[in-house]
C-alpha cells in the first residue's frame, strides 16, 4: 500500500508490528493492572501515553495506523460501539505525529504532546461515548479525569520516552534517530 523503495519496506513492516504488539500488551496491562491501582483523581492511560510516544518517534503514519488497529482491538474487547476508540486513537496518533520534528528540539515537546494526547484522548472517549452510546461521565467528571490523565502522563513520559526512542533506534539499526 505504502510503496517506498527496497529495504525500507521491511523496516516499516517491522515498525508497525512492534508498535501494534507493544500497544496490545499495554491494552491488557491497562485493564488488568493499572485500572485496579485506584489512582487518585482519575486514571493513568498507559495506551494513550505509549501511542503518543510512538507517534512522536515514528511519525503520523505509524501513529495513525497503529492507533486505529489497537483501537479496533480495544473496541472488540469492550461493550461499546465498535470503532469509537479506533476513531479517537487514530486521530491522536496522527495529530501527535505532526509535531515529530519539534520533539527533537526540546524536552518539553514530548512531555507536552503526551500530556495533551492524554487530555484530548480522554475527552475524546467521553465525547464519542456520549454521542454513540450513553454518556458514562458528566462533563465535569470528564474534564477532571482528562486533567488527571494528563498529569500522570507527564509523570510517566520521562521514563517511557527514552526507552521507546532507544528501542526504535535498535529496530532500525540507525546509530542516531532519523539519520538526517
Amino acid at each position: 500500500m505504502w510503496d517506498i523503495a527496497g529495504s525500507a519496506d521491511t523496516l516499516r513492516a517491522r515498525t508497525f508490528v512492534a508498535a501494534i504488539a507493544l500497544l496490545s500488551v499495554a491494552l491488557v496491562v491497562q485493564v488488568s493492572i493499572v485500572a485496579r491501582l485506584g489512582l487518585p483523581g482519575g486514571r493513568l492511560d498507559l495506551v494513550l501515553v505509549l501511542l503518543a510516544a510512538i507517534s512522536l518517534i515514528e511519525g503520523p503514519l505509524v501513529g495513525a495506523v497503529s492507533g486505529f488497529v489497537v483501537g479496533v482491538l480495544a473496541d472488540l474487547a469492550s461493550s461499546h460501539v465498535l470503532g469509537q476508540s479506533a476513531l479517537v486513537m487514530c486521530l491522536i496518533g496522527y495529530a501527535v505525529g505532526l509535531v515529530m520534528d519539534a520533539a527533537e528540539r526540546s524536552v518539553a515537546v514530548p512531555l507536552g504532546a503526551t500530556a495533551g494526547a492524554c487530555v484530548a484522548g480522554t475527552l475524546g472517549y467521553a465525547a464519542t461515548t456520549s454521542i454513540f452510546g450513553e454518556a458514562a461521565l458528566t462533563g465535569g467528571e470528564a474534564v477532571i479525569r482528562a486533567l488527571a490523565a494528563g498529569v500522570y502522563a507527564v509523570l510517566l513520559t520521562p521514563f517511557l520516552f527514552p526507552l521507546l526512542a532507544a528501542g526504535s533506534r535498535r529496530l532500525s539499526g540507525r546509530p542516531r534517530r532519523g539519520g538526517r
Binding site: W2, L27, V28, V29, Q30, V31, S32, I33, A35, R36, G38, R43, D45, V47, E58, G59, P60, L61, V62, A64, V65, F68, G71, V72, A74, D75, L76, A77, S78, S79, H80, V81, L82, G83, Q84, S85, A86, L87, V88, C90, L91, Y94, G97, L98, M100, D101, T122, Y125, A126, T129, F132, G133, E134, A135, A136, L137, T138, E141, R145, G178
Partner: protein, 342 residues
C-alpha cells in the same frame, strides 16, 4: 520517515472513513459477544486472567525484595530465605483474606438462599475508561449466563452482560444503561434505581409520590426476570425531588467499584423472596433496649444475630435463616439450571 505528506493524509482519511463505517455498522446491528467480539473477549479474558494470576504474587513479594547488603553470600542466602518467608507470610495473609471474603460471600448467599458461582474480577472497565463493566473469570462453562445477577459480600454489583466459555463481562449497576427494580426496606413500595451519575451515586425513583422517602432508607432489589429479589443495593443519601408524580433520591451503593475483587454470580434463585434479611442489621437506637445483642457478636461482619434484626421484617424466620441453610453455595460449575431462568 512519514512526515505530513500527501500519503499520510490519504491514509488518515481512509482510516477515518473505516472508523465511521465500523461505528455505523455496529450501531445498527447491536452488540453481542459473538463473532469477532466473542473471539477477542475469550482470548483477552484468558490473557487477563493469566496476567492477574502472575501480578498478584509479584505485587506481594515486591515489598520483600530490594534491600541491598554487602555480605553477599550469607546475606544473599538469608535474604532469599527471608524473602521466601515473607512471601509465605504474604501468601498466608492473602489466603486468609480470600477465605474471609469467601466466607462473607457465602454468608450473604446463604441468607438469601441463592445458589452462587464465586468468581474473581480480572479486568476493570475498558481501555477508554467509559465502560462501566468488569470482567470476571467465570463463564458459560461454570454456569454463568447473560442476565444473571452478580453480587459481592456488600450487595448488588450488576448483571452479566455477555459471557464466553471462561470469562464474563458484568455491567455494573452504575452504568448509564442499567435500571434495576428496587424496593424500599420494610415496605413493598416499588421504584427503579438507575446509574449514570458516576461510580458512587445511583438515582432512585419511587413511583409512589405519597410516600415520604427519607435519608438513610435502604434499598433492596425487587426481583424480576433478570434480578433475584432481596439483594441490598444501597442507602439513600439525599432526596432530590419531592414534587410531581414520583420522588427521586440519590443513593450511595453498598458496593464500591474500586475495591471489587471476589464476586458471586447468582445461578439459582430462592423459592421465596428473601425480603429484607440480607440487609445488615441497623444500629438499634439507644432508647430501645436490645436484648442479647452485645453478648455474643460473631466475628464475621454483617451476621444477623437475634435481637439486632430490624423490626417489622417481612420474613418471620429472618434470624435463623442466615446460618442454618446448608448447601446453597456452589463452589464450581454445578447447578446451573436450578430454576434461575434469567
Amino acid at each position: 520517515m512519514g512526515r505530513d505528506t500527501r500519503r499520510s493524509r490519504l491514509v488518515i482519511v481512509a482510516l477515518l472513513i473505516a472508523a465511521f463505517t465500523l461505528i455505523t455498522l455496529d450501531y445498527k446491528t447491536g452488540r453481542s459477544a459473538s463473532g469477532a467480539r466473542g473471539v477477542v473477549h475469550s482470548v483477552l479474558g484468558g490473557v487477563e486472567a493469566g496476567v492477574t494470576a502472575v501480578t498478584r504474587p509479584i505485587g506481594r513479594t515486591a515489598s520483600s525484595l530490594g534491600h541491598p547488603n554487602r555480605y553477599h553470600d550469607r546475606a544473599d542466602r538469608l535474604a532469599q530465605e527471608n524473602a521466601g518467608l515473607r512471601r509465605q507470610l504474604a501468601d498466608n495473609a492473602a489466603v486468609g483474606r480470600m477465605s474471609k471474603q469467601l466466607g462473607e460471600l457465602r454468608l450473604i448467599a446463604d441468607k438469601g438462599q441463592y445458589s452462587i458461582v464465586p468468581a474473581r474480577v480480572i479486568a476493570v472497565g475498558d481501555v477508554s475508561g467509559t465502560d462501566w463493566t468488569v470482567t470476571i473469570n467465570a463463564g458459560r462453562d461454570d454456569g454463568v449466563d447473560v442476565d444473571k445477577t452478580v453480587l459481592d459480600a456488600d450487595g448488588l454489583v450488576g448483571t452479566v452482560s455477555s459471557a464466553t466459555a471462561h470469562t464474563a463481562a458484568v455491567r455494573l449497576a452504575c452504568d448509564p444503561g442499567s435500571r434495576v427494580g428496587a424496593r424500599l426496606e420494610r415496605t413493598q413500595l416499588l421504584g427503579a434505581v438507575a446509574g449514570g451519575q458516576g461510580p458512587s451515586t445511583l438515582t432512585f425513583t419511587l413511583y409512589d409520590a405519597s410516600y415520604r422517602v427519607q435519608k438513610g432508607d435502604r434499598l433492596v432489589t425487587f426481583g424480576s426476570m433478570d434480578y433475584v429479589a432481596g439483594v441490598p443495593i444501597g442507602v439513600i443519601t439525599k432526596v432530590t425531588d419531592v414534587g410531581g408524580l414520583s420522588r427521586t433520591a440519590e443513593v450511595k451503593p453498598f458496593v464500591s467499584v474500586g475495591t471489587l475483587d471476589l464476586v458471586g454470580v447468582v445461578v439459582g434463585r430462592p423459592a421465596a423472596d428473601p425480603g429484607d434479611r440480607l440487609l445488615a442489621p441497623q444500629p438499634v437506637p439507644t432508647t430501645q433496649p436490645a436484648p442479647a445483642a452485645p453478648a455474643a457478636q460473631p466475628p464475621a461482619a454483617g451476621t444477623t444475630t437475634p435481637g439486632t434484626i430490624v423490626p417489622g421484617t417481612t420474613v418471620p424466620d429472618a434470624s435463623t435463616a442466615g446460618t442454618t441453610t446448608p448447601g446453597t453455595t456452589t463452589a464450581g460449575p454445578i447447578r446451573s439450571g436450578q430454576g434461575g431462568t434469567g
